[in-house]
């Protein structure tokens, strides 16, 4: 699929940030999802959770602010905001697993039409497995947003009918942000065998036909609705 005017990564992050409802508690995954924090406004009052035991994480620390005891999941020094709290690892993941986070934003190798997520293992024979908190976030957060390019370097769709990469979590992804479109996944229908993927926004010269062609998924047209659908 060719597209002359896709979103840049910064624009994708901006889009995700704009879609996060007021007062949400959010975990931003390592890598590109972390950049979403650059576009959150103070008025959104979003509370950031980091798996290593903190709510109310502030921006990256610089200069004198750097404290090696205060880092994020990517082990980068960060700051604390008023109202922050610290807790141990079992409490941190209880918070996650217990469904208390509103949104986790994660990267992905693949997402299936049923909302299955693959983002922890390439499946390569000689790869050293390392999962971190990915599986916990996938099953724990109320909403899992994925940020990824829609296609691989070879031009294959990463939104697929069935995963070919090892699973991180089943029926967990609720929305996928890509450089050419945003997809909402109805995981409830998906779990009962009738997955439903709706295209809620398209960028540049993307067409629904081209997305259907690329993904092979019977995408539903949701672009006529309001651009930002509510989350549960």
């Amino acid at each position: 699929m060719s597209n002359e005017n896709p979103l840049t990564r910064a624009e994708m992050a901006q889009r995700v940030a704009a879609d996060i409802p007021y007062g949400s508690v959010v975990n931003l995954g390592i890598g590109i999802p972390t950049s979403v924090s650059n576009y959150l406004t103070p008025e959104q009052d979003v509370i950031l959770h980091t798996e290593n035991g903190m709510l109310g994480m502030g921006p990256e620390a610089h200069g004198d602010e750097i404290d090696n005891d205060l880092i994020n999941a990517g082990k980068i020094p960060v700051t604390e905001l008023p109202g922050a709290s610290y807790f141990h690892h079992a409490d941190s993941f209880a918070m996650m697993r217990g469904g208390h986070l509103d949104i986790a934003v994660l990267g992905a190798f693949q997402v299936s039409a049923a909302g299955d997520l693959a983002n922890w293992h390439t499946g390569a024979e000689d790869a050293i497995p390392a999962v971190g908190g990915a599986m916990d976030l996938a099953v724990g957060a109320k909403n899992v947003f994925v940020m990824m390019e829609l296609t691989t370097k070879k031009g294959e769709s990463k939104l697929v009918d069935h995963l070919t990469y090892p699973v991180t979590g089943l029926a967990c992804v609720t929305r996928v942000y890509t450089e050419v479109a945003v997809f909402d996944i109805d995981t409830v229908s998906g779990a009962s065998g009738t997955p439903r993927v709706t295209v809620t926004a398209m960028f540049g010269d993307t067409t629904l036909a081209s997305l259907r062609d690329l993904t092979g998924i019977p995408l539903v047209d949701g672009t006529t609705n309001s651009p930002t659908k509510g989350i549960s």
Partner: protein
Amino acid sequence: MINKLHDSVDEALADIPDGATVMIGGFGQAGQPIELIDGLIRHGATDLTIVNNNAGNGEFGLALLIKSGFVRKIICSFPRQVDSQIFDERYRAGLIELEVVPQGNLAERIRAAGAGIGGFFSPTGFGTLLAEGKETRTIDGKNYVLESPIHADFSLIKAHAADPMGNLVFRKTARNFGPIMATAAKTTIVQVTDVVALGALDPENIITPGIYVNRIVQISQGATA
């Protein structure tokens, strides 16, 4: 009066035997008890099973312990990092055994050991490679994997301050695995920056009660092992 303070790292670690399971606190560098790990290398116990979130960064602390060859197996969630070259090399050479556990299951399994829980059903990892061979169950329409407690012979952790009874407070995200590892080991050894008088810690703010701490070693800030 109860006083768990020990004079030296080496003395505090002296009875760790070959074959021990040792939990080591820390998430990356934060909370990693570097001086205790250096002591463990000097001590020289072999055939160790190590429990940590990672498998060492750079060329210090846990990475050096792995390099020493004393570690038979590591149980962790995230071994592969940009600076995990020591682990990577030994793993590829077949010199170290690896059990990868989702981070939340790792934390909960450690807590379960300390809390006397025989096993628990976790939704994390269901349907993945990491649940292969494990018992599963559907409860109220949701799928779970049965996970077991992880017990340790020793836990080596880092805290900010201790009183002589072993009551502990931590600093920021360096708290991470410390409090739960303290509960899961037969013997918990803590390195602290400050030792304060009994009664100096507010009972409302103690994170790890002294009942979970056996030995304390003070490491002055900025000290090298």
